[in-house]
């Protein structure tokens, strides 16, 4: 049962409902997704192995139970790796990481190579969607665009674009309500919040979900395996 639950949870994370995967890809640090993929397979393996274990106990067959124990240990090791990876990589995702990535890649027009080009597209599309849907601007606020030079600033002069147009309050057609108000920074005509909360929320849930849920399952698996080992040593030939 735990296996099914783990599989379901990891499938949810891999499906990326918040559309943040391009940001993680661009950090070249997307091991959190690797951890979730491992979680899917481990969950499935746990489920299959549990059937094997139940058969082994009904028949009190030593060999079958031995096979069960060894395979479970291997699965345990994989799941352990997945949990630790998820937890470790979650610690990388500081505001500074996303800020630097946004400044260096958002709307950059001169990609260094194909890999860069694909990362730039991902980052630009994700940020545009983020800023429009969550009514936010930059990582910590619109001042991010003023405090630092950026790839965006290279192609958009400061007087016309103190911050990207996506930071402006939009009407239903996707046009800024008042462009001058947005450029001046009049409250109500631009998005004054930063987007970090909208990013870190889902990423944290994802990382902690994979890590701690996997940890709980592993604790339970540990007990089950210990019990199985004792049972095994008590079976007569």
């Amino acid at each position: 049962m735990c296996g099914i639950a783990l599989t379901a949870e990891c499938i949810y994370f891999v499906s990326d409902p918040h559309g943040l995967y391009p940001l993680l890809e661009a950090t070249e640090n997307n091991d959190i997704y690797a951890a979730a993929w491992i979680g899917i397979f481990v969950g499935f393996a746990l489920f299959a192995l549990s059937i094997l274990g139940i058969i082994g106990i009904i028949k009190s067959d030593r060999t079958l139970l031995l096979v069960y124990i060894i395979l479970m240990l291997i699965t345990f090791a994989f799941e352990m790796a997945s949990c630790i990876t998820a937890a470790t990589h979650r610690d990388f995702f500081t505001p500074n990481l996303f800020l630097k990535q946004m400044l260096e890649k958002y709307q950059k027009t001169e990609p260094a190579n194909d890999n860069d080009k694909w990362m730039i597209e991902g980052v630009t599309k994700t940020w545009n969607k983020l800023m429009l849907q969550n009514h936010c601007c930059g990582v910590l606020g619109p001042s991010d665009w003023q405090e630092y030079t950026s790839a965006f600033r290279d192609t958009h002069n400061d007087a016309d674009y103190p911050w990207p147009r996506q930071c402006c309050a939009m009407n239903a057609q996707g046009i800024p309500i008042n462009l001058d108000g947005c450029k001046l920074g009049v409250p109500g005509y631009y998005n004054s919040n930063g987007c970090y909360d909208a990013i870190s929320g889902p990423v944290n849930t994802h990382a902690w979900g994979v890590a701690w849920f996997g940890f709980a399952i592993l604790c339970w698996t540990f007990c089950v395996l210990l019990g199985t080992m004792f049972y095994w040593s008590g079976i007569e030939y």
């Binding site: 470790t88 001046l184 920074g185 940890f215």
Partner: protein, 231 residues
């Protein structure tokens, strides 16, 4: 030239995010300041802080010495945002914001035909501004110079450090506990193999297979019969 008692200042209400950017700043309009000069043209003078002492009011706007395109190298100051009293009415209008955004015209920044362009400022400053009222080409009134206005300078994103996130306590706890559990399981597996080799455990009979042997009851009726036959 009359000195009007007014110091130009950056807009205070409402709070503007873009009050100063890398190349623009926002001034409050000089309302109720030049009421006595109904026929005058009111110009904004922008100069670098170190040239305000030697500013000459008589130099006409639109000349090379006051052209935006020549600022700051060949023109010590430039004049822009030409307006009349009609643009700065004294009546209090609620709900409108009364600002002047200095540096907003990007289209004419390089156009020598537009020397009075309100173009983006070329550097971080510090700048000082004042308003000058001209009738024809005669200066008739001026305000004080503003306080020095410093614009924002942008740092490079390379200065952002991305490596100072330590490892959180949760992650360390998780790794430690999982490692210990795995070690115990491995030890258990090794113990299992050790005991498999030797029969020392004996094996408690509680888990033994159910024997498919039935016990037959010996009927010793012949023993009972003999004493009955003797008697």
């Amino acid at each position: 030239v009359d000195r009007v008692r007014y110091v130009p200042f950056l807009t205070k209400t409402p709070m503007l995010e873009g009050l100063t950017t890398g190349s623009t700043f926002v001034l409050e309009q000089p309302r109720c300041v030049f009421d006595k000069y109904r026929n005058a043209d009111i110009w904004l003078v922008v100069a670098l802080e170190n040239t305000t002492a030697t500013f000459n009011n008589s130099v006409a706007p639109g000349t090379a010495e006051r052209a935006f395109q020549n600022f700051p190298n060949r023109a010590p100051a430039y004049m822009t945002l030409n307006a009349t009293l009609a643009n700065y009415p004294c009546s209090e209008q609620r709900g409108n914001i009364t600002v002047l955004r200095v540096g907003s015209e990007t289209s004419c920044a390089r156009d020598k035909e537009r020397p009075t362009c309100n173009g983006p400022l070329p550097g971080p400053g510090p700048y000082q501004v004042k308003f000058l009222a001209l009738e024809g080409s005669e200066p008739v009134a001026e305000t004080f110079w503003s306080l020095p206005i410093m614009l924002r300078t942008a740092k490079s994103p390379n200065s952002i450090s991305t490596t100072d996130g330590g490892h959180s306590a949760g992650m360390i706890a998780l790794t430690t506990i999982l490692s210990i559990l795995f070690a115990i399981l491995l030890a258990g597996l090794v113990a299992m193999f050790v005991f498999w080799g030797s029969d020392a455990c004996g094996g408690s009979s509680t888990f033994s297979k159910p024997e498919a042997v039935s016990v037959r009851r010996y009927n010793t009726h012949h023993v009972y019969d003999q004493p009955a036959a003797r008697l």
